[in-house]
Symmetry: D2
Subunit: 136 residues, 4 copies
Amino acid sequence: MSGYRLTRRVQFYETDVAGIVHFSWFYRYMEEAEHALWREAGLSIHPHGSEIGWPRVSASFDFHRALRFEDEFDVCLRIVELTSRRICYACVLQKQNLKMATGTMTVACVRKRPDRTLEAIDIPAEIASRFEVYRQ
Amino acid sequence: MSGYRLTRRVQFYETDVAGIVHFSWFYRYMEEAEHALWREAGLSIHPHGSEIGWPRVSASFDFHRALRFEDEFDVCLRIVELTSRRICYACVLQKQNLKMATGTMTVACVRKRPDRTLEAIDIPAEIASRFEVYRQ
Amino acid sequence: MSGYRLTRRVQFYETDVAGIVHFSWFYRYMEEAEHALWREAGLSIHPHGSEIGWPRVSASFDFHRALRFEDEFDVCLRIVELTSRRICYACVLQKQNLKMATGTMTVACVRKRPDRTLEAIDIPAEIASRFEVYRQ
Amino acid sequence: MSGYRLTRRVQFYETDVAGIVHFSWFYRYMEEAEHALWREAGLSIHPHGSEIGWPRVSASFDFHRALRFEDEFDVCLRIVELTSRRICYACVLQKQNLKMATGTMTVACVRKRPDRTLEAIDIPAEIASRFEVYRQ
């Protein structure tokens, strides 16, 4: 698996008083597509009881056009880099053929220590083997 | 402790395209006041590593008037019933002297079993002793 | 139209540190099903530029079981009362055959006055004619 | 005005099943500080009935450490660039003296046309005159 296209509709509670989707929701849309990609690869990013986690290292969006209540749109997520410890995604939100927003997100593989601190670790082989960098 | 008054301002992301606070936020406001009440009593409702939890059993609101961006309002929370296993709160949201909404919430004390299921238990004495029913 | 069944999966951002869906989300799930019901009836509950709105008058939930990350569930919404000015819904959230939560919601038809205050009005005939009370 | 420090506590509904604040909240924290900065300057970023809006052009965060339930933290926002049409902010989230996250956000001044499209315009003088770039 190297990418996923999620189709989604804007919900009422995702809009704000300016009449458009609040920008914080775009980061959630991107993460929804990530988790759908993992499920498509036969994995859960957060299986119950796992000591491994995937905190976000960075995330960004450039916003090109506004989304509105009940708009249908696609979240196109692609793996653009895969190192021993991190996955970098690129994301495009499209409504029909219009590019609405462009994002990136990097996540790291960590182990949760008993004291709740997080230790960066190598991505387990059984996870890394399911993913690859997207090639056009 | 038998009650708490939380003062709060409406944030932009709490509004929706109808120009008012989305109704789902009132339940969060009520819970914010609950957790502030617990802190005032010297407690955290969710201390790290605790095997005890406080899931919501029921919650309701009657909405009288709309809240808007940057409105300042008070969340007045009172304990109206305290049994061996549950706490019932009543809540009034006010803007100046106007009653905006009236809510109720009941929470139960549970222990989390290793298999993630929840078992209703008596409220520990060191918690129950900090609270009492509000009397006018 | 008198009811709608929405199938939905729990998203990561809907969970909280207790490991379950935060209770405020159930009200959003109920509203998602309402808006899907309206679309199924050929309507939008918030068409652009409309002076008519549907603020919530009251909403409640009894929570029976916890929902968790990636759980699939159904939101079964039914119209249980339809007056000249209000619609009352009943809602059951189910995971497979388990009843997870039971809710109610009443919404009123209002006109927005230029000064932003809301005036209760009769439900327009072209809307009322699309809905009816659910009968078993 | 060229900067603002907002003090804030993590709310329960801002956490997720991984036990930490969901990353989408950091963008909301940054915006909260922006709106507080505007109020401190005697302005509202969204006065009722205004035809001017401030959509986000881009926003990013690097996440250094996790925030948890009831953590107290500061959101330090500074204006780092001010052009005729845009404001760029830099943001640091700190818990005590620890840097938790570092963000940026650029917003543009727009006029809402009657057809809902947005037209980029110069920042009105009465707004631009209240702000300046932060200098150490």
